[in-house]
């Protein structure tokens, strides 16, 4: 993995081998790709692509589609009203309520998804026949594959995962706290409050002197100091950073 800004240390060979196999995962099959493309095309047609032509050669289908949906809705409404009538005859009060409910269901606003599905089904029914000029499916594009590597098959989980999981969870909490503290410092720095940022970083250092993000914290301190400290303090922080993290890619980046 190369980067124009930062050079990161390589991953452990075993982890790298695992990831390489996932990297080589093949693409989707042609039939699935074509099915998804058709669905996307339908969706795009419905939501209008900026710059796409609005007049459609398929527009002659629209009256038919509208008619189907309109007729279907009216038919259902009539049926429901007929079903409500016997109830109204048995008891005026109960029948009124039932009629009101049924009437509301018939004439009230439609659920948002129902017409979408109905319209989509209608378009799907007439779509392929109406579009004989549909371009043939291009073969699926697969990325070039590097030489295959022997897969790593891991054995069962470690014998005593319970304690280890607890440790991982605790470590995760620490990381989250560390990230939060540094996030506050970074926000303060972005807002121009370099002294607040430095205070946050000092708080971080006191709390996590050997934290996972100590390197980032130290570099953030240098950046904050550059904004407002005197030259000697800035140089002191920078030298301290380089002494503690001699191989750090931070500070060598032009964009950071």
């Amino acid at each position: 993995m190369s980067d124009s800004n930062l050079e990161l240390p390589p991953l452990d060979a075993d982890v790298e081998a695992l990831l390489r196999i996932e990297r080589d995962r093949p693409s989707v099959g042609g039939a699935q790709a074509e099915r998804m493309w058709r669905a996307i095309a339908l969706e795009l047609g419905a939501v209008a692509i900026p710059g796409a032509a609005q007049a459609s050669p398929a527009s002659h289908l629209l009256p038919r589609l509208r008619g189907r949906i309109e007729v279907g809705g009216t038919g259902i409404g009539k049926l429901m009203l007929l079903k409500a009538l016997p109830w109204m005859a048995v008891s005026l009060a109960v029948g009124s309520i039932g009629g009101f409910v049924a009437g509301h269901r018939v004439t009230g606003p439609r659920a948002s998804l129902a017409p979408v599905l109905k319209q989509r089904e209608a378009v799907e029914r007439v779509g392929p026949a109406a579009v004989p000029e549909l371009a043939p499916l291009a073969p699926p594009v697969e990325p070039p594959r590097p030489a295959t590597t022997a897969p790593i098959v891991l054995g069962p989980a470690a014998p005593s995962p319970h304690g280890r999981r607890k440790q991982t969870a605790r470590s995760d909490d620490h990381l989250a706290e560390e990230e939060a503290l540094l996030g506050q410092a970074e926000s303060a720095l972005r807002a121009g409050n370099w002294s607040t940022a430095l205070a946050e970083i000092d708080a971080y250092d006191r709390r996590y002197p050997t934290g996972e993000l100590a390197e980032e914290a130290a570099w953030l301190g240098v950046r904050a100091c550059q904004r407002g400290c005197d030259v000697a303090s800035t140089q002191s922080r920078l030298l301290d950073f380089r002494r503690r993290f001699p191989t750090s890619p931070l500070g060598k980046s032009s964009g950071d």
């Binding site: 991953l11 692509i49 900026p50 996030g183």
Partner: protein, 199 residues
Amino acid sequence: MTNFGRSLNFSQVVSLSQLPDELRAIYDAEVGNVVNSLRRLGARGRDLEDLTQEVFVRAFQQLPSFDRTRAIRPWLFGIAFRVMAEARRHSWKLRTAGGAEAPEEVTDPGATPERAAEIAQTRRLVLELLEELSPERRAVFVMYELNGDSMTEIAGALGIPLFTAYSRLRVARAQFAALVRERDPSLGGAGSGGKDDSK
């Protein structure tokens, strides 16, 4: 197919052949990466197909404002990440079982059944381990380690400062290596997280 609140308008229906050739070319070139990226971000089964469609629909809608000097793949990943985040926010029950219409996992051609099974098992393991990372760290990790994007592209695609992207990657690397060790203590040895030994 997901809806995300859009409504259909029949006056805007166009035929498939009216879609610009460019869109089809982008789709053909990138659909595999989008599917794999969504899979690595946690989408499974039928959701994978729905979310893939949603990513391309959004991408094609936003294409006119896309800066053509940028790489399209990280940009698509950024959209995929947001689509996944939205799906999670909407409390979708992301299905884990592969439905009938889920994109198939194409096996490597030429691989023996035993080898194909081993490869599939390894890939499942990687996806399982990725599940343990937070969505933000996972996105950076997937982009850098699996998709091969640069840190600058990652920061741009996810809309985060380069510094933040770097921090997330470092933590994600350390966490992933720890998870590998947890599964098998003989693997994922020292040096995987890039931690400085001089401290």
